[in-house]
């Protein structure tokens, strides 16, 4: 929990060693509404910070998910192919998108911590 960091576009990354798990926040899934499809990148893809990492489709519209940090895709959440609604029901857990091997951990310093992100979201309403 303590090491989950956020972007202003409502992506999060949770770091464990040199790997980071990436998803979208509860606020983001609520704004999107019912998720019906998630397009995930190929394993091995190299992403720069802010590159498009995935696309989330709700009933109404598509939204891009940008990676908060640079790295190589080492795992994707295959469960989302069977049940994309996991993004809605468990955005910070089962609804994760991809796992990256971080290439530049100093990028984490650009991101918001939990408390800062909460304040940021509160300011949006």
């Amino acid at each position: 929990m303590a090491d989950r960091k956020y972007t202003e576009d409502h992506e999060w990354v949770e770091v464990d060693g040199d790997a980071g798990v990436i998803g979208i926040s509860d606020y983001a899934q609520e704004q999107l509404g019912d998720v019906v499809f998630v397009e995930l990148p190929d394993i091995g893809k190299i992403l720069d910070q802010r590159d498009e990492a995935a696309v989330v489709e709700s009933v109404k519209a598509a939204a891009e998910v940008y990676t908060p940090v640079s790295g190589e895709v080492i795992e994707v959440n295959e469960e989302l192919n069977n049940d994309p609604s996991l993004v809605n029901t468990d955005a910070f857990g089962e609804g994760w998108f991809i796992k990256l091997r971080l290439s530049d951990p100093t990028e984490l310093e650009d991101l918001m911590d939990e408390a800062t992100y909460k304040t940021f979201v509160a300011g949006l309403n």
Binding site: G33, D34, V36, F37, E39, V55, E57, S58, V59, K60, A61, A62, N81, P84
Partner: protein, 376 residues
Amino acid sequence: MANAKPDTDLLKTPLHDLHVAHEARMVPFAGYAMPVQYPGGIMTEHRHARSAAGLFDVSHMGQAILRGADVAASFEKLVPGDIASLAVGQMRYTLLLNDAGGIRDDLMATRIEEDGRFALFLVVNAACKDADFAHIATALEGEAELEILEDRALVALQGPHAESVLAELAPGCRDLVFLEGAGMAVDGVEAFVTRSGYTGEDGFEISLAADAAMAFAEKLLTHDEVALIGLGARDSLRLEAGLCLYGHDIDETTTPVEAGLSWAVGKRRREAADFPGAVTILKQIAEGPSRKRVGLRPEGRAPVREGAPIRDAGEQLVGKVTSGGFAPTLEQPIAMGYVSAACAEPGMSLQIELRGRSVSAEVAAMPFVKPRYKRS
């Protein structure tokens, strides 16, 4: 949106406070603040309308009464529908056409009787209403008069339980079949009720005084079967039903023939060839149009969206998607779009561009979900 206004200038429907009280997410739509969804979400709302009864605020739509010495003959100058043959209480889907045969708007017209004289009750799209009413009033000046009903709300109740719920407040609604309307008291309030809608379900649209709408909607919501439905699910419901959304699937550049709406061009009207764009439209009916609106079923789960290019097996561009989304009832993506006539046969395989790659899609018969209108 072409005529979007700043949020502060948005018009409010008579049910605005109800939407806010039910925690709707409000969005600008055709100059109005409208509920796109409530906390339950589009999928839940969609399924509710298919399984119980959905309550829609469609008060942003334009309502008017057209009166004249021979009001049906007058109105037929602007539309290709057979209006003259409508019996009192009969409702018809028709189209305001431009001189090239393009569609200015689609609308519902019901023949009514007032003090022994015929009139037409019209319901038009919100985004087109100012232009439609100006066009009708100008074109028919001297022979027909248009009264715009500014102080009326319009509420739709749609779904398999719509009849049983509405009948508690207006027993006379049971006597109507699909595309019939009648004036009646609804919970003691004067209203005009039609058996119609935009979901493919059985249901009603109720026009009543703006200041009576809140009490009526709240009364409907006391029934467990009734839930509020926003514009998001309204769109997914109409897409499953294969119904056109004006400004997307039909517009000034599409003709009724291309849009698959030739059935809205009356037989007598074809013989008389006396409607705007008749030359173009009748030629297309006789020879077949060069492009057609079709249903599309993309493979997999990824929805294709409006504007996506459509190609044939030889990678030739043959059209584009005009509406696309996910069908909650079918649990798969569906779309509609225009393709060249050679590619319009149901069963044909086409390719739709999606994020730089190609998704196979089959041309599909519409509606995607079987309608459940009460026809008798």
